[in-house]
Symmetry: C2
Subunit: 308 residues, 2 copies
Protein backbone atom coordinates (compact mmCIF):
# COMPACT_ATOMS: atom_id res chain seq x y z
CA UNK A 1 0.00 0.00 0.00
CA UNK A 2 1.15 3.53 -0.65
CA UNK A 3 1.86 6.20 1.92
CA UNK A 4 0.91 9.84 1.52
CA UNK A 5 3.11 12.58 2.94
CA UNK A 6 2.24 16.26 3.08
CA UNK A 7 5.06 18.52 4.21
CA UNK A 8 7.86 20.80 3.20
CA UNK A 9 10.55 20.73 0.58
CA UNK A 10 13.34 23.14 1.37
CA UNK A 11 16.89 24.26 1.02
CA UNK A 12 18.95 24.16 4.20
CA UNK A 13 22.24 25.74 5.13
CA UNK A 14 23.73 23.77 7.98
CA UNK A 15 26.78 24.30 10.13
CA UNK A 16 28.12 21.66 12.50
CA UNK A 17 31.25 21.88 14.64
CA UNK A 18 33.18 20.12 11.89
CA UNK A 19 31.52 20.97 8.58
CA UNK A 20 29.25 23.32 6.69
CA UNK A 21 26.97 23.05 3.70
CA UNK A 22 25.00 25.69 1.78
CA UNK A 23 21.67 25.20 0.08
CA UNK A 24 21.39 21.48 0.68
CA UNK A 25 18.17 19.69 -0.15
CA UNK A 26 15.98 19.51 2.96
CA UNK A 27 12.39 19.61 4.14
CA UNK A 28 10.21 17.18 6.03
CA UNK A 29 8.55 15.66 2.96
CA UNK A 30 11.94 15.12 1.36
CA UNK A 31 13.49 13.20 4.26
CA UNK A 32 10.26 11.31 4.88
CA UNK A 33 9.81 10.12 1.32
CA UNK A 34 13.47 9.25 0.83
CA UNK A 35 13.19 6.90 3.83
CA UNK A 36 9.66 5.55 3.25
CA UNK A 37 10.34 4.71 -0.39
CA UNK A 38 12.50 1.73 0.60
CA UNK A 39 9.35 0.08 1.88
CA UNK A 40 6.34 1.38 -0.05
CA UNK A 41 5.31 3.70 -2.88
CA UNK A 42 5.11 7.30 -1.67
CA UNK A 43 2.65 10.00 -2.71
CA UNK A 44 4.26 13.35 -2.03
CA UNK A 45 2.52 16.70 -1.62
CA UNK A 46 4.69 19.79 -1.19
CA UNK A 47 5.47 23.13 -2.75
CA UNK A 48 8.69 24.63 -4.12
CA UNK A 49 9.64 27.99 -5.61
CA UNK A 50 10.86 28.93 -9.05
CA UNK A 51 14.47 28.63 -7.89
CA UNK A 52 14.10 24.93 -7.19
CA UNK A 53 16.43 22.64 -9.09
CA UNK A 54 14.49 19.51 -9.98
CA UNK A 55 17.72 17.63 -10.57
CA UNK A 56 18.05 17.61 -6.78
CA UNK A 57 15.06 15.26 -6.49
CA UNK A 58 15.66 13.12 -9.54
CA UNK A 59 16.56 10.30 -7.12
CA UNK A 60 13.01 10.38 -5.67
CA UNK A 61 11.47 9.64 -9.06
CA UNK A 62 13.69 6.59 -9.33
CA UNK A 63 12.59 5.47 -5.89
CA UNK A 64 8.88 4.99 -6.25
CA UNK A 65 7.91 8.50 -5.15
CA UNK A 66 4.99 9.98 -7.07
CA UNK A 67 5.62 13.71 -7.39
CA UNK A 68 2.24 14.62 -8.90
CA UNK A 69 1.45 16.58 -5.76
CA UNK A 70 4.56 18.74 -5.92
CA UNK A 71 3.65 22.20 -7.16
CA UNK A 72 5.82 25.14 -8.13
CA UNK A 73 4.69 28.60 -7.06
CA UNK A 74 6.04 32.06 -7.91
CA UNK A 75 8.78 33.00 -5.48
CA UNK A 76 11.53 31.14 -3.72
CA UNK A 77 11.71 27.76 -2.01
CA UNK A 78 11.47 27.53 1.79
CA UNK A 79 14.92 28.23 3.23
CA UNK A 80 16.31 27.36 6.66
CA UNK A 81 19.76 27.98 8.09
CA UNK A 82 20.97 26.60 11.39
CA UNK A 83 24.01 25.78 13.42
CA UNK A 84 24.52 22.78 15.71
CA UNK A 85 26.38 23.27 18.96
CA UNK A 86 29.23 21.06 20.12
CA UNK A 87 26.94 18.46 21.72
CA UNK A 88 25.04 18.09 18.40
CA UNK A 89 21.76 18.06 20.32
CA UNK A 90 21.13 21.76 20.61
CA UNK A 91 20.90 23.94 17.55
CA UNK A 92 20.26 27.57 16.82
CA UNK A 93 18.24 28.78 13.88
CA UNK A 94 20.18 31.43 11.96
CA UNK A 95 17.57 32.18 9.33
CA UNK A 96 14.09 31.07 8.29
CA UNK A 97 12.53 32.24 5.04
CA UNK A 98 9.15 30.61 4.52
CA UNK A 99 8.84 31.97 0.98
CA UNK A 100 6.32 29.91 -1.06
CA UNK A 101 5.73 27.66 1.97
CA UNK A 102 4.00 30.55 3.74
CA UNK A 103 0.90 30.14 1.57
CA UNK A 104 1.10 26.38 1.15
CA UNK A 105 -2.42 25.06 0.74
CA UNK A 106 -2.16 21.38 0.02
CA UNK A 107 -4.66 19.98 -2.48
CA UNK A 108 -4.41 16.26 -3.09
CA UNK A 109 -4.34 15.03 -6.67
CA UNK A 110 -7.37 12.83 -7.27
CA UNK A 111 -5.26 9.66 -7.37
CA UNK A 112 -3.79 10.39 -3.94
CA UNK A 113 -7.19 10.43 -2.24
CA UNK A 114 -7.27 6.69 -1.77
CA UNK A 115 -4.03 6.65 0.22
CA UNK A 116 -4.46 4.45 3.31
CA UNK A 117 -1.38 5.53 5.21
CA UNK A 118 -1.09 9.26 5.74
CA UNK A 119 1.69 11.31 7.32
CA UNK A 120 1.07 14.96 8.05
CA UNK A 121 4.49 16.48 8.56
CA UNK A 122 5.03 19.57 10.67
CA UNK A 123 2.77 22.20 9.08
CA UNK A 124 -0.10 24.40 10.29
CA UNK A 125 -2.57 22.09 12.08
CA UNK A 126 -5.45 23.64 10.20
CA UNK A 127 -3.86 22.55 6.92
CA UNK A 128 -3.26 19.11 8.39
CA UNK A 129 -6.96 18.89 9.19
CA UNK A 130 -7.91 19.91 5.67
CA UNK A 131 -5.68 17.23 4.21
CA UNK A 132 -7.40 14.53 6.26
CA UNK A 133 -10.75 15.69 4.88
CA UNK A 134 -9.44 15.07 1.37
CA UNK A 135 -8.53 11.44 1.99
CA UNK A 136 -11.34 8.98 1.32
CA UNK A 137 -10.75 6.17 3.80
CA UNK A 138 -7.47 6.52 5.61
CA UNK A 139 -6.44 3.43 7.57
CA UNK A 140 -3.75 5.09 9.70
CA UNK A 141 -3.11 8.82 9.96
CA UNK A 142 -0.02 10.08 11.81
CA UNK A 143 0.99 13.68 12.35
CA UNK A 144 3.97 15.68 13.53
CA UNK A 145 3.86 19.09 15.18
CA UNK A 146 6.14 21.52 17.03
CA UNK A 147 6.27 24.03 19.89
CA UNK A 148 5.23 26.89 17.57
CA UNK A 149 1.81 25.30 16.92
CA UNK A 150 1.42 24.09 20.50
CA UNK A 151 1.87 27.54 21.99
CA UNK A 152 0.20 29.66 19.30
CA UNK A 153 -2.44 27.46 17.63
CA UNK A 154 -3.58 25.13 20.37
CA UNK A 155 -7.28 25.03 19.43
CA UNK A 156 -6.50 24.20 15.80
CA UNK A 157 -4.01 21.62 16.95
CA UNK A 158 -6.51 19.96 19.27
CA UNK A 159 -9.05 19.77 16.48
CA UNK A 160 -6.55 17.94 14.29
CA UNK A 161 -5.36 15.71 17.13
CA UNK A 162 -8.95 14.59 17.65
CA UNK A 163 -9.05 12.95 14.21
CA UNK A 164 -5.63 11.26 13.91
CA UNK A 165 -4.44 7.82 14.96
CA UNK A 166 -0.87 8.71 15.87
CA UNK A 167 1.24 11.64 16.94
CA UNK A 168 4.99 11.75 16.37
CA UNK A 169 6.47 14.14 18.89
CA UNK A 170 9.61 14.72 20.89
CA UNK A 171 9.86 14.52 24.67
CA UNK A 172 9.96 18.27 25.29
CA UNK A 173 6.88 18.74 23.11
CA UNK A 174 5.03 16.12 25.18
CA UNK A 175 5.70 18.22 28.27
CA UNK A 176 4.64 21.42 26.54
CA UNK A 177 1.44 19.99 25.06
CA UNK A 178 0.36 18.11 28.18
CA UNK A 179 1.58 20.53 30.84
CA UNK A 180 3.16 17.54 32.61
CA UNK A 181 6.85 17.15 33.48
CA UNK A 182 6.50 13.39 33.47
CA UNK A 183 6.21 12.19 29.87
CA UNK A 184 4.21 9.07 30.79
CA UNK A 185 1.58 11.09 32.62
CA UNK A 186 1.72 13.60 29.78
CA UNK A 187 1.21 10.89 27.20
CA UNK A 188 -2.09 9.85 28.72
CA UNK A 189 -3.33 13.42 28.62
CA UNK A 190 -2.42 13.63 24.94
CA UNK A 191 -4.09 10.29 24.21
CA UNK A 192 -7.26 11.79 25.65
CA UNK A 193 -6.99 14.52 23.00
CA UNK A 194 -7.33 11.90 20.26
CA UNK A 195 -4.34 9.84 19.12
CA UNK A 196 -4.16 6.43 20.79
CA UNK A 197 -0.64 5.94 19.46
CA UNK A 198 2.23 8.21 20.44
CA UNK A 199 5.75 7.97 19.12
CA UNK A 200 8.00 9.96 21.41
CA UNK A 201 11.40 10.72 19.91
CA UNK A 202 14.30 11.19 22.31
CA UNK A 203 17.21 11.63 19.86
CA UNK A 204 20.31 9.76 21.01
CA UNK A 205 18.20 8.10 23.72
CA UNK A 206 15.90 6.38 21.24
CA UNK A 207 12.14 6.40 20.98
CA UNK A 208 9.14 5.31 22.97
CA UNK A 209 6.00 3.88 21.44
CA UNK A 210 2.86 4.25 23.51
CA UNK A 211 0.00 2.33 21.94
CA UNK A 212 -3.18 2.37 24.00
CA UNK A 213 -1.97 0.96 27.32
CA UNK A 214 1.21 -0.65 26.09
CA UNK A 215 4.73 0.75 26.14
CA UNK A 216 7.70 -0.09 23.93
CA UNK A 217 11.11 1.48 24.36
CA UNK A 218 13.61 1.34 21.51
CA UNK A 219 17.18 2.60 21.86
CA UNK A 220 18.89 4.63 19.18
CA UNK A 221 21.58 2.84 17.24
CA UNK A 222 24.96 4.06 18.53
CA UNK A 223 26.39 6.56 16.10
CA UNK A 224 30.10 7.22 16.52
CA UNK A 225 30.26 9.80 13.78
CA UNK A 226 27.19 11.95 14.14
CA UNK A 227 27.53 14.23 11.15
CA UNK A 228 24.26 16.17 10.78
CA UNK A 229 21.05 15.48 12.74
CA UNK A 230 18.88 17.59 10.39
CA UNK A 231 15.94 15.57 9.14
CA UNK A 232 16.46 12.63 11.50
CA UNK A 233 12.93 12.91 12.90
CA UNK A 234 11.28 12.96 9.46
CA UNK A 235 13.51 10.12 8.31
CA UNK A 236 12.40 8.19 11.40
CA UNK A 237 8.77 8.87 10.51
CA UNK A 238 9.43 7.74 6.93
CA UNK A 239 10.85 4.40 8.03
CA UNK A 240 8.00 3.96 10.50
CA UNK A 241 5.15 4.78 8.12
CA UNK A 242 6.80 3.11 5.12
CA UNK A 243 7.09 -0.13 7.03
CA UNK A 244 3.45 0.03 8.14
CA UNK A 245 2.33 0.67 4.56
CA UNK A 246 4.49 -2.18 3.26
CA UNK A 247 3.06 -4.68 5.72
CA UNK A 248 -0.49 -3.31 5.90
CA UNK A 249 -0.58 -4.22 9.57
CA UNK A 250 -1.14 -1.75 12.40
CA UNK A 251 -1.27 -4.20 15.28
CA UNK A 252 0.81 -3.61 18.39
CA UNK A 253 3.71 -5.87 17.48
CA UNK A 254 3.96 -4.52 13.96
CA UNK A 255 3.98 -0.97 15.28
CA UNK A 256 7.02 -2.04 17.33
CA UNK A 257 8.73 -3.40 14.24
CA UNK A 258 7.94 -0.13 12.49
CA UNK A 259 9.64 1.76 15.32
CA UNK A 260 12.74 -0.37 14.71
CA UNK A 261 12.62 0.55 11.04
CA UNK A 262 12.29 4.24 11.81
CA UNK A 263 15.24 3.97 14.18
CA UNK A 264 17.32 2.27 11.52
CA UNK A 265 16.58 4.82 8.80
CA UNK A 266 17.28 7.72 11.16
CA UNK A 267 20.64 6.19 12.09
CA UNK A 268 21.72 6.38 8.45
CA UNK A 269 20.37 9.87 7.91
CA UNK A 270 22.59 11.50 10.54
CA UNK A 271 25.77 10.10 9.01
CA UNK A 272 25.91 12.70 6.25
CA UNK A 273 24.47 16.05 5.18
CA UNK A 274 20.97 16.33 3.70
CA UNK A 275 19.60 13.07 2.27
CA UNK A 276 23.03 12.05 0.99
CA UNK A 277 23.20 8.91 3.09
CA UNK A 278 19.64 7.73 2.48
CA UNK A 279 19.13 8.58 -1.17
CA UNK A 280 20.74 5.42 -2.48
CA UNK A 281 21.16 2.86 0.29
CA UNK A 282 21.73 -0.75 -0.72
CA UNK A 283 19.16 -3.00 0.90
CA UNK A 284 21.99 -5.14 2.22
CA UNK A 285 23.07 -2.19 4.37
CA UNK A 286 19.56 -1.79 5.76
CA UNK A 287 19.40 -5.51 6.53
CA UNK A 288 22.76 -5.35 8.24
CA UNK A 289 21.60 -2.51 10.45
CA UNK A 290 18.39 -4.35 11.33
CA UNK A 291 20.67 -7.07 12.66
CA UNK A 292 22.72 -4.49 14.59
CA UNK A 293 19.59 -3.10 16.24
CA UNK A 294 18.18 -6.50 17.11
CA UNK A 295 21.53 -7.45 18.67
CA UNK A 296 21.41 -4.24 20.68
CA UNK A 297 18.11 -5.09 22.34
CA UNK A 298 18.05 -8.88 22.43
CA UNK A 299 18.01 -10.79 25.70
CA UNK A 300 17.76 -14.53 25.42
CA UNK A 301 15.36 -15.93 27.95
CA UNK A 302 14.79 -19.46 29.03
CA UNK A 303 12.34 -20.84 31.51
CA UNK A 304 14.84 -20.99 34.32
CA UNK A 305 16.62 -17.72 34.07
CA UNK A 306 14.75 -16.21 36.95
CA UNK A 307 15.04 -18.49 39.90
CA UNK A 308 13.69 -16.01 42.41
CA UNK B 1 27.90 -17.42 45.53
CA UNK B 2 28.25 -14.40 47.74
CA UNK B 3 28.97 -10.86 46.68
CA UNK B 4 31.30 -8.51 48.54
CA UNK B 5 30.59 -4.80 48.68
CA UNK B 6 32.92 -2.16 50.06
CA UNK B 7 31.43 1.30 50.31
CA UNK B 8 29.74 3.84 52.50
CA UNK B 9 27.01 3.76 55.09
CA UNK B 10 25.57 7.19 55.71
CA UNK B 11 22.79 9.41 56.87
CA UNK B 12 21.21 11.58 54.18
CA UNK B 13 18.98 14.60 54.35
CA UNK B 14 17.09 14.88 51.11
CA UNK B 15 14.78 17.51 49.71
CA UNK B 16 12.70 16.98 46.59
CA UNK B 17 10.17 19.39 45.07
CA UNK B 18 7.41 17.58 46.97
CA UNK B 19 8.94 16.13 50.13
CA UNK B 20 11.78 16.27 52.62
CA UNK B 21 13.45 13.79 54.94
CA UNK B 22 16.11 14.25 57.61
CA UNK B 23 18.76 11.74 58.59
CA UNK B 24 17.53 8.91 56.41
CA UNK B 25 19.62 5.80 56.05
CA UNK B 26 21.82 6.09 52.97
CA UNK B 27 25.24 5.20 51.60
CA UNK B 28 26.39 3.15 48.62
CA UNK B 29 26.96 -0.08 50.56
CA UNK B 30 23.49 0.21 52.09
CA UNK B 31 21.58 0.57 48.83
CA UNK B 32 23.78 -2.00 47.12
CA UNK B 33 23.34 -4.69 49.73
CA UNK B 34 19.62 -4.08 50.17
CA UNK B 35 19.19 -4.79 46.44
CA UNK B 36 21.77 -7.56 46.01
CA UNK B 37 20.45 -9.55 48.97
CA UNK B 38 17.35 -10.61 47.00
CA UNK B 39 19.65 -12.67 44.82
CA UNK B 40 22.72 -13.72 46.81
CA UNK B 41 24.33 -13.52 50.25
CA UNK B 42 26.13 -10.20 50.70
CA UNK B 43 29.37 -9.51 52.58
CA UNK B 44 29.36 -5.87 53.57
CA UNK B 45 32.40 -3.75 54.49
CA UNK B 46 31.76 -0.20 55.67
CA UNK B 47 32.28 2.14 58.60
CA UNK B 48 29.86 4.06 60.80
CA UNK B 49 30.25 6.48 63.68
CA UNK B 50 29.19 6.25 67.30
CA UNK B 51 25.92 8.02 66.50
CA UNK B 52 24.79 5.20 64.23
CA UNK B 53 21.55 3.51 65.16
CA UNK B 54 21.91 -0.19 64.41
CA UNK B 55 18.14 -0.61 64.46
CA UNK B 56 18.22 1.16 61.09
CA UNK B 57 19.97 -1.82 59.49
CA UNK B 58 18.24 -4.60 61.36
CA UNK B 59 16.50 -5.45 58.07
CA UNK B 60 19.85 -6.22 56.43
CA UNK B 61 20.61 -8.92 58.98
CA UNK B 62 17.32 -10.55 58.14
CA UNK B 63 18.20 -10.40 54.46
CA UNK B 64 21.31 -12.48 54.20
CA UNK B 65 23.75 -9.60 54.64
CA UNK B 66 26.83 -10.46 56.69
CA UNK B 67 27.76 -7.36 58.66
CA UNK B 68 31.06 -8.69 60.08
CA UNK B 69 32.92 -6.10 58.05
CA UNK B 70 30.97 -3.15 59.44
CA UNK B 71 33.10 -1.29 61.95
CA UNK B 72 32.26 1.54 64.31
CA UNK B 73 34.83 4.29 64.74
CA UNK B 74 34.96 7.25 67.13
CA UNK B 75 33.13 10.21 65.64
CA UNK B 76 30.03 10.62 63.55
CA UNK B 77 28.64 8.74 60.57
CA UNK B 78 29.13 10.10 57.05
CA UNK B 79 26.44 12.72 56.39
CA UNK B 80 25.16 14.09 53.10
CA UNK B 81 22.45 16.64 52.43
CA UNK B 82 21.10 17.47 49.00
CA UNK B 83 18.23 18.97 47.12
CA UNK B 84 16.74 17.79 43.83
CA UNK B 85 15.60 20.36 41.31
CA UNK B 86 12.21 20.27 39.60
CA UNK B 87 13.36 17.94 36.81
CA UNK B 88 14.57 15.43 39.45
CA UNK B 89 17.71 14.85 37.38
CA UNK B 90 19.88 17.67 38.66
CA UNK B 91 20.68 18.01 42.32
CA UNK B 92 22.71 20.31 44.48
CA UNK B 93 24.75 19.17 47.44
CA UNK B 94 23.91 21.26 50.49
CA UNK B 95 26.32 19.63 52.92
CA UNK B 96 28.90 16.84 53.02
CA UNK B 97 30.46 15.72 56.29
CA UNK B 98 32.79 12.78 55.69
CA UNK B 99 33.28 12.21 59.43
CA UNK B 100 34.49 8.63 60.10
CA UNK B 101 34.38 7.90 56.35
CA UNK B 102 37.33 10.24 55.86
CA UNK B 103 39.75 7.71 57.32
CA UNK B 104 37.96 4.61 56.08
CA UNK B 105 40.57 1.91 55.52
CA UNK B 106 38.73 -1.25 54.59
CA UNK B 107 40.15 -4.47 55.96
CA UNK B 108 38.31 -7.62 54.92
CA UNK B 109 37.39 -10.12 57.59
CA UNK B 110 39.15 -13.40 56.84
CA UNK B 111 35.93 -15.10 55.80
CA UNK B 112 35.23 -12.41 53.18
CA UNK B 113 38.50 -13.05 51.33
CA UNK B 114 37.07 -15.88 49.27
CA UNK B 115 34.32 -13.68 47.80
CA UNK B 116 34.11 -14.28 44.06
CA UNK B 117 31.93 -11.31 43.13
CA UNK B 118 33.28 -7.98 44.30
CA UNK B 119 31.78 -4.51 44.06
CA UNK B 120 33.92 -1.52 44.94
CA UNK B 121 31.51 1.33 45.48
CA UNK B 122 32.51 4.94 44.99
CA UNK B 123 35.49 5.42 47.34
CA UNK B 124 39.11 6.51 46.91
CA UNK B 125 40.57 4.42 44.05
CA UNK B 126 43.65 3.65 46.12
CA UNK B 127 41.41 2.00 48.74
CA UNK B 128 39.58 0.14 45.99
CA UNK B 129 42.93 -1.21 44.81
CA UNK B 130 43.87 -2.32 48.31
CA UNK B 131 40.59 -4.19 48.67
CA UNK B 132 41.22 -6.16 45.50
CA UNK B 133 44.62 -7.22 46.90
CA UNK B 134 42.82 -8.72 49.90
CA UNK B 135 40.54 -10.97 47.86
CA UNK B 136 42.01 -14.38 47.10
CA UNK B 137 40.57 -15.31 43.73
CA UNK B 138 37.91 -12.89 42.57
CA UNK B 139 35.90 -14.05 39.58
CA UNK B 140 34.35 -10.70 38.67
CA UNK B 141 35.35 -7.33 40.12
CA UNK B 142 33.28 -4.24 39.34
CA UNK B 143 33.89 -0.71 40.52
CA UNK B 144 32.15 2.63 40.63
CA UNK B 145 33.83 6.03 40.64
CA UNK B 146 32.96 9.72 40.27
CA UNK B 147 34.17 13.01 38.82
CA UNK B 148 36.07 13.87 42.02
CA UNK B 149 38.43 10.91 41.57
CA UNK B 150 38.64 11.33 37.79
CA UNK B 151 39.82 14.91 38.01
CA UNK B 152 41.95 14.74 41.17
CA UNK B 153 43.25 11.18 41.45
CA UNK B 154 43.58 10.03 37.85
CA UNK B 155 46.78 8.00 38.27
CA UNK B 156 45.38 6.10 41.26
CA UNK B 157 42.16 5.56 39.36
CA UNK B 158 43.97 4.20 36.30
CA UNK B 159 45.92 1.78 38.46
CA UNK B 160 42.67 0.41 39.88
CA UNK B 161 40.95 0.36 36.49
CA UNK B 162 43.79 -1.80 35.18
CA UNK B 163 42.84 -4.64 37.53
CA UNK B 164 39.03 -4.70 37.40
CA UNK B 165 36.63 -6.50 35.09
CA UNK B 166 33.88 -3.93 35.01
CA UNK B 167 33.27 -0.23 35.55
CA UNK B 168 29.87 1.15 36.48
CA UNK B 169 29.79 4.77 35.43
CA UNK B 170 27.37 7.42 34.21
CA UNK B 171 27.43 9.00 30.78
CA UNK B 172 28.97 12.30 31.85
CA UNK B 173 31.74 10.46 33.68
CA UNK B 174 32.52 8.50 30.52
CA UNK B 175 33.08 11.78 28.73
CA UNK B 176 35.22 13.17 31.56
CA UNK B 177 37.37 10.06 31.94
CA UNK B 178 37.89 9.45 28.22
CA UNK B 179 38.05 13.04 27.01
CA UNK B 180 35.56 12.08 24.29
CA UNK B 181 32.16 13.68 23.72
CA UNK B 182 30.90 10.51 22.05
CA UNK B 183 30.31 7.88 24.72
CA UNK B 184 30.90 4.96 22.35
CA UNK B 185 34.30 6.27 21.33
CA UNK B 186 34.95 7.12 24.97
CA UNK B 187 34.01 3.61 26.05
CA UNK B 188 36.73 2.07 23.89
CA UNK B 189 39.32 4.37 25.42
CA UNK B 190 38.21 3.30 28.90
CA UNK B 191 38.25 -0.36 27.91
CA UNK B 192 41.90 0.14 26.96
CA UNK B 193 42.52 1.28 30.55
CA UNK B 194 41.45 -2.13 31.82
CA UNK B 195 37.78 -3.04 32.25
CA UNK B 196 36.37 -4.96 29.30
CA UNK B 197 32.86 -4.47 30.63
CA UNK B 198 31.31 -1.04 31.03
CA UNK B 199 27.90 -0.36 32.47
CA UNK B 200 26.90 3.17 31.50
CA UNK B 201 24.01 4.53 33.53
CA UNK B 202 21.80 7.14 31.87
CA UNK B 203 19.13 7.63 34.54
CA UNK B 204 15.66 7.92 33.03
CA UNK B 205 17.13 6.90 29.66
CA UNK B 206 18.25 3.51 30.90
CA UNK B 207 21.65 1.85 30.76
CA UNK B 208 24.10 0.60 28.19
CA UNK B 209 26.20 -2.51 28.63
CA UNK B 210 29.40 -2.62 26.62
CA UNK B 211 31.03 -6.02 26.91
CA UNK B 212 34.13 -6.41 24.76
CA UNK B 213 32.78 -5.60 21.28
CA UNK B 214 29.11 -6.09 22.03
CA UNK B 215 26.51 -3.51 22.96
CA UNK B 216 23.26 -3.89 24.85
CA UNK B 217 20.86 -1.05 25.49
CA UNK B 218 18.26 -1.35 28.23
CA UNK B 219 15.58 1.28 28.83
CA UNK B 220 14.62 2.44 32.28
CA UNK B 221 11.24 1.30 33.51
CA UNK B 222 8.83 4.23 33.23
CA UNK B 223 8.33 5.78 36.63
CA UNK B 224 5.30 8.01 36.92
CA UNK B 225 5.96 8.94 40.52
CA UNK B 226 9.66 9.55 40.82
CA UNK B 227 10.00 10.22 44.51
CA UNK B 228 13.72 10.25 45.36
CA UNK B 229 16.53 9.22 42.98
CA UNK B 230 19.13 9.00 45.77
CA UNK B 231 20.85 5.61 45.72
CA UNK B 232 19.39 4.51 42.39
CA UNK B 233 22.84 3.88 40.91
CA UNK B 234 24.00 1.74 43.84
CA UNK B 235 20.69 -0.12 43.85
CA UNK B 236 21.20 -0.77 40.15
CA UNK B 237 24.68 -2.12 40.87
CA UNK B 238 23.26 -4.31 43.65
CA UNK B 239 20.69 -5.90 41.35
CA UNK B 240 23.33 -6.38 38.66
CA UNK B 241 26.02 -7.94 40.86
CA UNK B 242 23.55 -9.89 42.98
CA UNK B 243 22.12 -11.52 39.89
CA UNK B 244 25.60 -12.43 38.60
CA UNK B 245 26.51 -13.94 41.97
CA UNK B 246 23.24 -15.88 42.12
CA UNK B 247 23.75 -17.40 38.68
CA UNK B 248 27.55 -17.69 38.75
CA UNK B 249 27.61 -16.87 35.05
CA UNK B 250 29.43 -13.91 33.55
CA UNK B 251 28.82 -14.65 29.91
CA UNK B 252 27.49 -11.98 27.60
CA UNK B 253 23.83 -12.99 27.71
CA UNK B 254 23.82 -13.32 31.47
CA UNK B 255 25.41 -9.89 31.84
CA UNK B 256 22.42 -8.61 29.85
CA UNK B 257 20.00 -10.34 32.19
CA UNK B 258 21.89 -8.82 35.11
CA UNK B 259 21.41 -5.36 33.56
CA UNK B 260 17.67 -6.05 33.49
CA UNK B 261 17.79 -6.96 37.16
CA UNK B 262 19.70 -3.80 38.04
CA UNK B 263 17.15 -1.77 36.10
CA UNK B 264 14.30 -3.42 37.96
CA UNK B 265 15.77 -2.88 41.42
CA UNK B 266 16.56 0.77 40.65
CA UNK B 267 12.98 1.33 39.49
CA UNK B 268 11.73 0.35 42.94
CA UNK B 269 14.34 2.35 44.81
CA UNK B 270 13.28 5.72 43.39
CA UNK B 271 9.67 5.24 44.46
CA UNK B 272 10.35 6.18 48.08
CA UNK B 273 12.93 7.80 50.34
CA UNK B 274 16.05 5.94 51.43
CA UNK B 275 15.82 2.14 51.18
CA UNK B 276 12.16 2.18 52.22
CA UNK B 277 10.90 0.66 48.99
CA UNK B 278 13.57 -2.04 48.66
CA UNK B 279 14.03 -3.16 52.25
CA UNK B 280 11.14 -5.58 52.20
CA UNK B 281 9.98 -6.26 48.65
CA UNK B 282 7.84 -9.33 48.06
CA UNK B 283 9.41 -11.50 45.36
CA UNK B 284 6.08 -11.45 43.53
CA UNK B 285 6.55 -7.71 43.00
CA UNK B 286 10.02 -8.24 41.58
CA UNK B 287 8.72 -10.95 39.25
CA UNK B 288 5.89 -8.67 38.13
CA UNK B 289 8.34 -5.93 37.27
CA UNK B 290 10.56 -8.34 35.35
CA UNK B 291 7.51 -8.99 33.21
CA UNK B 292 6.92 -5.25 32.81
CA UNK B 293 10.49 -4.72 31.63
CA UNK B 294 10.44 -7.65 29.22
CA UNK B 295 7.18 -6.32 27.75
CA UNK B 296 8.81 -2.94 27.35
CA UNK B 297 11.61 -4.27 25.14
CA UNK B 298 10.10 -7.29 23.41
CA UNK B 299 9.68 -7.42 19.66
CA UNK B 300 8.32 -10.64 18.25
CA UNK B 301 10.17 -11.64 15.15
CA UNK B 302 9.33 -14.25 12.59
CA UNK B 303 11.26 -15.28 9.53
CA UNK B 304 9.25 -13.15 7.19
CA UNK B 305 8.92 -9.93 9.02
CA UNK B 306 11.54 -8.22 6.93
CA UNK B 307 10.63 -8.65 3.31
CA UNK B 308 13.09 -6.11 2.02
Amino acid sequence: MSVLVVGSMAYDSVETPTAKIDKALGGSATFFSAAASYFAPVNLVAVVGEDFDFNDIEFLKNKNVDLSGLTTEPGKTFFWAGRYLANMNDRETLDTQLNVFEHFNPVLPEKFRDSEYVFLANINPDLQYNVIQQVNKPKFVAMDTMNFWITGYLQDLKKTLSVVDALVINDSEVKLLSGQDNIFKGARIIQDMGPKTLIIKKGEHGAILIHKDSLFSCPAIPVENLFDPTGAGDTFAGGFMGYLAMTGDINENNLRRAILMGTIMASFSVEDFSVDRIKDLPKTEIRQRIKTLLDLIRVKEDNNWIKL
